[in-house]
């Protein structure tokens, strides 16, 4: 018989246990959860707090304004200018494709660019502005701005970009900017780069990167999970970079560039009293603004494959046999070693024969009997062949080194080349051969292995001009009352220097001077021509030169000079690649520079 009471009793006893089991299971679950909470919050709370902070705060960089670059008179070489960019905020724009189509008359975007933008829309948060086109012209800005209300979501943003108001003037010197790469990160270890950062790649922009750069500021933004900014927590303003005042005289620079216009070559103008660079030209040049705007494929290809190598700064990277401009070095070495004196004379018949080999003078008929001054004036090769024989290559090399040849000047520009001053040890180390006596003769007239950069030549002639002091060439003007210190003072006796100078003065002012047609108008200058062989000249049996018509095989024309002769204020070197003779191709350029400089500043002491 079914009994309610009975059933209750049996069921009660068993059920109590079962209820306890369920209660125990719940309690067990609660303990596990409590334990995990303790583990997360109490044991590891700090760690998770850090993670939460990382989540919450986004550092937004505030770019620092890059310092301007000025010339020695405060004229602007590089500045920052506003760059107008069109951006769209996709979440405010309805159909982006339609918007772009409607704006197309004002933008003229190529189809692949439009594709790229549309792809970008997919990938980017829709509240972030998406850059459509930068470097808008004023006309574009005006056209778009006046219709902006009809383009939903479109905004014109202003950013600062680097601009070079003088175009290609001093382009190599100033350098250009580019996106940071591994090499930059390694080189500027003090800077915290972020990917996409802009950094000086060449020239002043690179050399003075640390000064120009300033310090980036930041805004600490509180962000939500999708990166939308909620509010600003903290702000650290950017410290703008310092303006950089260069020793360059932009007008002299421009004049020197005009003088070399259309040619391939270089000129360096130094103040011989302190090593300050007044002008440094490398032609052909390029417009650094192009690096900001960007190149088309064709433009870039043209720039890179141009045989005149416009991207190379020939003033520091071009290495040329110095030709006859090297004769001063040989003369100084011989004077120092006592191998010659002011009265030493050598006879030039047009050639000398050594070891069954004929060494020619540039003047087939010979110069006859001449002393050092005359040999410099007329650039007699035989005189220096004979002088070098008794001197030996190592004595020449020592003298060259003390005048700064064969090693970098330390000017600090990226990519400076050292040139080459051969010696016995160098020959042995490089080729494993002994030095042949004939090589000394070749070297004595600046041919063969010896190489110099235009900057080294300018520095060398500056030392001759200033009494033998080698300054490290610099782009920065030194403070007025602080005399510049030479990196080394060569121990050249004043009497020896006087002889060299006399020869150099005669080059421009003597009756037989090789550059007498190109003496500057208002001042007396001293100089030395040089012609350096690109390929070994072919000669007929008679010794007559065979003319090479191909421009690529034409000799480099060189000229070094300083002026005025009694109180030198300008020392320079000119190299015209494949220009032919130093006198006819390089000396006129020097004349033009001297004329411009002394016309402008007079001859009074600075």
């Amino acid at each position: 018989m079914y009994s309610l009471e009975n059933e209750h009793e049996t069921f009660k006893v068993d059920t109590r246990r079962r209820l306890l089991l369920l209660g125990g299971l719940f309690a067990g679950g609660a303990v596990i959860i409590g334990g995990q909470l303790f583990h997360l919050q109490v044991m590891n709370g700090g760690e998770y707090r850090d993670l939460a902070e990382d989540n919450r705060i986004s550092l937004q960089p505030v770019p620092a304004l890059r310092g301007r670059i000025l010339d020695r008179h405060g004229r602007i070489l590089v500045e920052n200018s506003p760059d107008f960019q069109l951006a769209i905020i996709p979440e405010l724009t309805g159909d982006i494709k339609t918007l772009l189509k409607r704006m197309q008359p004002y933008l003229a975007l190529p189809p692949d660019k439009i594709e790229k933008i549309l792809r970008q829309v997919e990938r980017q948060r829709s509240f972030l502005p998406l850059m459509v086109q930068s470097h808008l012209t004023w006309a574009q800005v005006n056209q778009i701005e006046s219709r902006i209300h009809t383009f939903p979501g479109a905004t014109i943003q202003v950013q600062t970009t680097r601009s070079y108001p003088n175009g290609d003037t001093a382009a190599h010197l100033l350098g250009y900017l580019g996106e940071v790469n591994d090499k930059d990160i390694f080189q500027f270890q003090g800077i915290n780069f972020r990917s996409g950062d802009i950094v000086g790649k060449t020239g002043m922009e690179r050399m003075f990167e640390l000064e120009l750069r300033g310090k980036e500021g930041f805004r600490e933004m509180e962000v939500n999970a999708v990166g939308r900014h909620i509010r600003e927590l903290k702000r650290q303003p950017a410290r703008p970079g310092n303006d950089l005042r260069l020793s360059i005289d932009v007008e002299l620079q421009a004049e020197a560039e005009r003088a070399l216009q259309g040619l391939s070559g270089s000129t360096v103008c130094l103040d011989p009293n302190n090593g300050e660079v007044l002008a440094m030209v490398s032609q052909p040049s390029y417009d650094p603004n192009q690096f900001i705007r960007g190149f088309s494929n064709d433009e870039w290809k043209k720039l890179v494959t141009d045989p005149k190598r416009p991207l190379i700064n020939k003033a520091i990277q071009g290495q040329y046999p110095p030709g006859s401009t090297f004769k001063m070095v040989v003369a100084l070495a011989a004077l120092r070693e006592g191998k010659i004196s002011a009265h030493t004379r050598h006879y030039c018949s047009g050639s000398v024969v050594r070891d069954n080999h004929t060494f020619y003078c540039w003047k087939s008929g010979g110069h006859g009997n001449l002393d050092l001054v005359a040999a410099l004036e007329q650039s007699c090769d035989v005189f220096f062949y004979k002088v070098s024989e008794s001197l030996g290559i190592d004595a020449i090399a020592r003298q060259a080194k003390s005048l700064g040849l064969g090693e970098t000047t330390g000017i600090g520009l990226e990519g400076e080349r050292p040139g080459l001053m051969p010696s016995r040890a160098w020959k042995k180390a490089t080729f494993g051969h002994a030095w042949y006596p004939g090589e000394t003769l070749i070297t004595a007239i600046g041919q063969g292995a010896v190489l110099a950069t235009p900057l080294q030549l300018a520095s060398m002639v500056a030392a001759i001009a200033n009494g033998g002091r080698i300054f490290r060439p610099t782009f920065v003007t030194s403070p007025e009352n602080q005399p510049p210190t030479p990196i080394h003072a060569t121990t050249i006796q004043p009497a020896h220097l006087d002889l060299i100078r006399k020869g150099m003065i005669a080059v421009l002012n003597g009756r037989s001077g090789t550059a007498r047609q190109y003496k500057p108008e208002k001042i007396l200058a001293a100089g030395k021509t040089g012609t350096s062989q690109v390929v070994k000249h072919k000669r007929e049996k008679s010794g007559k030169l065979i003319k090479e018509d191909n421009a690529r095989f034409k000799d480099h024309a060189l000229f070094v000079a300083y002026a005025p002769i009694d109180n030198p204020r300008l020392a320079l070197s000119v190299v015209v690649e494949h220009g032919g003779h130093g006198a006819s191709a390089a000396a006129p350029i020097a004349k033009r520079i001297f004329d411009f400089f002394f016309d402008k500043y007079g001859i009074a002491e600075s």
């Binding site: 059920t15 209820l19 369920l22 609660a30 596990i32 909470l37 998770y48 989540n55 999970a225």
Partner: protein
Amino acid sequence: MNIPADDRTFRHLGGNGPGWRDRLSRFPTSLLVLLSLLTLGGFVVLYSAVGGGENIDYVWRQSARFGFGAILMLVIAMAGSEKVYRRYAYLFYGLSLSLLVGVFLSGTIGMGARRWLEIGVLNLQPSELMKVALVLALARYFHDRSVSSGLGPADLVIPLLMIALPTALIVKQPDLGTSILLCAVGMSVIVAAGLEWKLFIGIIILLGASLPMGWNMMHDYQRRRILTLFSPEKDPLGAGYHIIQSKIAIGSGGLFGKGFMAGSQSQLNFLPERHTDFIFSVLAEEWGFVGGLLLLIVYCMIILRTLIIATTAADRFGLLTVVGLTTLFAFQVLVNMGMVIGLLPVVGIPLPMISYGGSSMLTLMIAMGLVAHVGVHSKQHGRTI
């Protein structure tokens, strides 16, 4: 319907039982107080979770639901006869099951998850009804069978079918969380009804063995959620995102929390679904270990209170009903907390009384009303605690 003889002595709804004053005096007020406490605390967290200010509407809506739920609980608890729910248990179950079939049929047309049935203006979620209906039907089934020794395999065929049918339909919706919940609730009733221990262990083993099959039946995203649980870092912006961000929120709360409205994780949108399934993360971030523990304690008190009611139940139906409904409540607490603190896979189960949403809260208040009903009609005369 064949009504047993002893039932006939009561008149339908409120017949011979205790008078309504008496019943009211025996209403487990402490249960309602604990639930109110929980819900009020939940409002504070919800207010913060939705960002406060203009979104205070969320709190108003939620409090309206609670108010309605509290009245529902009282009415259900006070309903006249102790046998009224037992009588309609199968009917209620059948109705819920047919609604689920309705969802299933209309669901085959639509894409993706379909859990709702639109009947006129009413948006009904039959799976919610089924939670309660299953408990009542199982309780009725075991009530009707006297068991002196343990339940054998033959006694389980019908109950297991009663669980399996709605579970299968809900898995198809797909709503993994609710299906697991149904199984757990059903099992708890079976265990309480007197399942043989040997059989109990056998079923556990069987369930374990069928896991691979269940795995195969799962949707890709469900599998991903489970895999993600073990290595959330592998997919930090995808499936692992919830767990990672939730753990960061909870962990960064520390001992005392970051303070009301000051949880950076929750205030700044790093937490998804933070006002519904992940609301506990907000609480734990802003109120810390202390807050989380306090919540856990309140839940335990509620569960303890309901289990005490179970011991005083006047009949088997009452007892099993309370066990099933308590499991319903407790399981949701454990699973929700377990998933937001990274112990269990993320399945869509709300935190009782705290998560924003009407269905869950109303279902639970109905369940608590039924629990209270058992208390009101307990065999012990005099106040329950």
